[in-house]
């Protein structure tokens, strides 16, 4: 593995008496494609929320390029190069598809407020560039013909794609995808896995995804981390995870030898 881009060092997240994530350590390299899996409520999204600054870990720290980012504002973390999508899609619904992408360029804007108000040459040049680049990005996601549609009028699959495109428009080093295949049919999922590969190749970024669709995870992930009740119970290559006893137990429950179980242990 090459040098690590993001590191979580012994992070724990407590909500009152509930420990949502407990002592998790993981490292992701510059161009890795990593999946986090686990049953519902295992703390996967909480992990994402800690990386993106929505929560600050109770114990431990998150570093990006060796610099501590936990306790920074989400907006600052985006500026440093982490982008994400949401489990329940969060688009700017009443704005056009193109505007959704343009908003994501916010942290990379070089003109100042007065350039915008007085429409200086700098403003015009940069806006032109932003529009061109945004359309290029939409083309990659095959959404360019829908650029003037309102985001809320897109079909579900297209909304998911738009959310990914919008995250990429922030020019991240690390992209976090929270259940990108949720609610998609097998054909769409297939398309999605190709798209994720393409993104990684084209932009040279690292991707972490949370996913329940095991076909997708096993197909594209290079390394898998498994969470259960906030604990990291396993990590490794897809084949290793598939045969890991603890993982199978977490998903399907442990085998119980019925005949040998005495009444009081139940």
């Amino acid at each position: 593995m090459n040098t690590s881009l993001i590191e979580l060092n012994n992070v724990t997240m407590k909500f009152g008496g509930l420990t949502a994530v407990k002592d998790v350590t993981l490292k992701v390299g510059q161009n890795d494609l990593v999946a986090i899996i686990g049953p519902n409520g295992a703390g996967k999204t909480t992990l994402f929320n800690m990386i993106t600054g929505i929560y600050s870990p109770t114990i431990g720290e998150v570093t990006l390029d060796g610099k501590k980012i936990s306790a920074k504002k989400p907006s600052d973390i985006t500026r440093l190069g982490i982008a994400r999508t949401f489990q329940n899609i969060r688009l700017f619904n009443n704005l056009s598809v193109l505007d959704n992408i343009k908003i994501a360029r916010h942290t990379r804007i070089n003109y100042n407020f007065f350039d915008g108000i007085f429409k200086t040459k700098k403003y015009k040049d940069e806006e032109k560039l932003i529009t061109e680049e945004s359309i290029k990005l939409l083309k990659l996601f095959k959404l360019e013909d829908k650029k003037d549609h309102l985001a809320r009028n897109l079909p579900y699959g297209a909304q998911r794609k738009l959310e990914m495109a919008r995250a990429l428009a922030t020019k991240p080093k690390l992209l976090l995808l929270d259940e990108p295949a949720a609610g998609m049919n097998p054909t769409e999922t297939k398309e999605l896995s190709e798209l994720i590969r393409l993104i990684r190749l084209e932009f040279g970024i690292a991707v972490i995804l949370i996913e329940h669709d095991m076909n997708l995870v096993m197909e594209i992930a290079e390394k898998i981390y498994v969470l259960d009740y906030g604990n990291l119970i396993a990590s490794g290559k897809p084949q290793e995870i598939q045969n890991n006893k603890q993982v199978i137990e977490a998903y399907l429950g442990a085998d119980i030898d019925v005949e040998n179980v005495s009444g009081d242990s139940l």
Partner: protein
């Protein structure tokens, strides 16, 4: 003739006010009900300058200084009120802003040196139609250009989804505070125009009802729409006068008719006349719709 000119001036002042509230309410999606307070602060600050500190220079220059003072005073209040209040959302923010604007009004009411409950008199007449309509044009251009710049887009994205906006790298607090300060400042400019137009101010002219009135203009035109705000302000400023003019029966019932028209409009077009769009871009969006 003077009467019509006065209505025209009022229309201009209300357009400025409506546009300024549209920045806070329509663009940024923050439900503020304290706009009359900022308007009043601007008016009184300008009046204080006009009465006590006016320089012996050309009225136009004095008016310019007075507008700057009105803007700064109201923007400062926006800053001071915004910092604690903008942590709140929706209805809670609305109630907090009502509270603050009433506090401002009551402070004015109890300050003897600026007339207190008797009202502030002898304010020099500096406002001209040029000032009013010049500022309407400046504010309109400001709002339109802001909307098309990255900063306007950032503000609008906060209205759409705060969490998503923050994840896109937008500092929520900065942009909310920015719209609050600028919105308050522009309301202060409108206050300055009123002070030097009517030459008399009374604290009750800036009470809660006026905040509601400005909000209604924004909603009628369409939240987030600049042209909508202009149309909303024109309609709601002229309508009561027109109803007054028709005949004495209508004049008696004008408040009821006015309210009934509002109800009908909101039932038939809850998003306001233009929705979030502008007069000239409406077509493009309709044809772009899938459903």
């Amino acid at each position: 003739m003077d009467y019509y000119l006065q209505i025209l001036t009022n229309v201009g002042i209300f357009i400025t006010l409506t546009l300024s509230l549209n920045l806070i309410n329509g663009y940024c999606g923050q439900f503020s009900l304290g706009h009359a307070g900022f308007w009043g602060v601007g008016a009184y600050a300008s009046a204080v300058y006009g009465v006590f500190f006016a320089l012996p220079v050309d009225p136009a220059l004095n008016m310019f200084i007075s507008i700057l003072i009105g803007f700064s005073a109201a923007a400062l209040c926006g800053l001071l009120i915004g910092i604690p209040c903008l942590r709140l959302k929706g209805d809670y923010l609305a109630i907090a802003t009502i509270g603050f604007s009433e506090i401002l009004r009551i402070i004015i009411m109890n300050t003897e040196s600026i007339g207190g409950p008797r009202g502030f008199t002898n304010i020099p007449k500096w406002t001209t139609s040029y000032w009013v309509w010049g500022l309407v044009i400046v504010t309109t251009i400001f709002m339109l250009n802001l909307k098309r710049s990255a900063f306007g887009r950032a503000i609008i994205s906060i209205r759409e989804d705060e969490i998503a906006a923050e994840t896109m790298g937008i500092n929520l607090f900065h942009f909310k505070l920015f719209s609050f300060i600028i919105g308050a400042g522009i309301a202060g400019i409108a206050g300055s125009l009123v002070a030097h137009d009517q030459q008399f101010l009374h604290p009750n002219n800036f009470n809660f009802m006026w905040s509601v009135c400005i909000l209604v203009m924004v909603i009628l035109g369409g939240q987030g729409s600049v042209t909508g705000s202009i149309v909303g302000a024109i309609i709601l400023t002229i309508l009561p006068e027109v109803l007054k003019m028709i005949n004495s029966d209508v004049a008696t019932w004008r408040v009821s008719i006015y309210s009934a028209l509002m109800i009908i409009l909101m039932l038939t077009r809850p998003q306001g006349i233009f929705g979030p769009h502008e007069l000239f871009e409406k077509k493009k969006f309709q044809s772009g719709r899938v459903s």
